[in-house]
Subunit: 286 residues, 2 copies
Amino acid sequence: MNLAQKLGYAEDAKLLIIHADDAGLSHSENQATIQALQNGSMNSYSIMMPCPWSYEMCLFAKNNPQFDGGVHLTLTCEWETYKFGPVLPVSEVPSLVDENGHFYRKRLDFKNNAKPDEVKKELIAQVEKAIHLGVQPTHLDAHMYSIGVTPEFFNIYKEVGKIFNLPVFITKEFLEEVRLSDEEYDFEDIVVADKIIIGNFADFEKGEFINHYEKALDNIKPGFNICLLHPAFDEFEMQGITINHPNFGAEWRQLDFDYFTSEACKLKLQENNIQLITWRDIKEIK
Amino acid sequence: MNLAQKLGYAEDAKLLIIHADDAGLSHSENQATIQALQNGSMNSYSIMMPCPWSYEMCLFAKNNPQFDGGVHLTLTCEWETYKFGPVLPVSEVPSLVDENGHFYRKRLDFKNNAKPDEVKKELIAQVEKAIHLGVQPTHLDAHMYSIGVTPEFFNIYKEVGKIFNLPVFITKEFLEEVRLSDEEYDFEDIVVADKIIIGNFADFEKGEFINHYEKALDNIKPGFNICLLHPAFDEFEMQGITINHPNFGAEWRQLDFDYFTSEACKLKLQENNIQLITWRDIKEIK
């Protein structure tokens, strides 16, 4: 039986999770995520525990367990002036941070410096912090997919999933993009997403950002698809956070929010007979 | 010689520092502070090192040492959903935090829980962090004046000033408001501000917030006066941070910004023959 069948759908069902990454990053990201869950087509999200606004999002998660919510395991911070670091004391995970105690901006610096035992204890601490704040996580995923840089780190990611009995977001597509190692990755015994839908910077620059999503939904294939969004409002805070970073910038995030709360998107999902599933569904059949 | 004379002014000069507290709190607070320093009448500020946006403000401080900038020593966090805690690991200063690792919201909880040795090392760490990030602090002051709850903590504040050879902001007016102890405070050998000008919630609610400042500037007395402002923009982030807290809320902060960047304010300072001084001036005559 394939995943669709295990979930009670036809073998060739087009399964889709519409997921908001980066909750907790900012007030804007939190509020856009919450609105998109409540009124839009988005049906899952994950929280970045090292971020300043994670507490606000954990309060929402605690009070709204009906929404699928996971932990967006975070080991890098890509922003120029808005910084965050480990939830553990820097003295316990010195290999994960730069000279100011912040996460590295680049996956390569993470790969070149991070010690596996420190990665493992930081990831565990991030999940434990969410649980302590009342979140009942439904899944784990990974910010910038930094955990995928080597099979060794990737195995820790899967291990942390097992420790907490949570499904982890696995995608070969992203691994090909982020890997900094020639070694083999092991996919045994885990659910692997078939296809990722995510905003595209070339289309963004051409003003065809929404078209990109519409085409992707029109061409969605049977199997396990995940749409990765970063909803936020194009306002002062997000403009500050994403300064000099139009890729996944404030305007991009507003477009994510706009489209995935639109009627056009709801229609598109219906027209294409797309079945929305959640990580909780996957967790339950595991 | 009184302070005015030591600074080269007449004995009865009306000295004033126009100070922005709370830099580092948010992007909005930072950008409003920077604009008010560059274009307004504000001439000093201090950074809250435990806050998420302190890095952005430290970059500004490092690159703009011409502005008077200190460290706003922080031991309490008054907000409902926006949380921060010590710069030291929680395990080193457990008495300063609640069950989630955040600073207490109330001065009373701080007073009832905080251990003096932990207060001291956290305050030192906050100043050291600013220096590490390239700030050359001109002074120290205290968020919510929480350090004033008892003479024992207050002495630590003065001691930290001595360690770094920095003037500390001392005001009997605030001490009377925040003190939670009947013991005597010692003011020997330190510069004490004569009068504080700060926004007033009753006037804010009556729509007379600006009048309050204008009256205060018209009635300013000879001596060492400090105006404590909290400039920020009344936008989404600050509205989120200050939720359910109109006192020092987003609207209040926008009014602080508006008035102290206005021509009306500049004229008022001239008309009243007010001499703007800085903490650096005070540091140099110490």
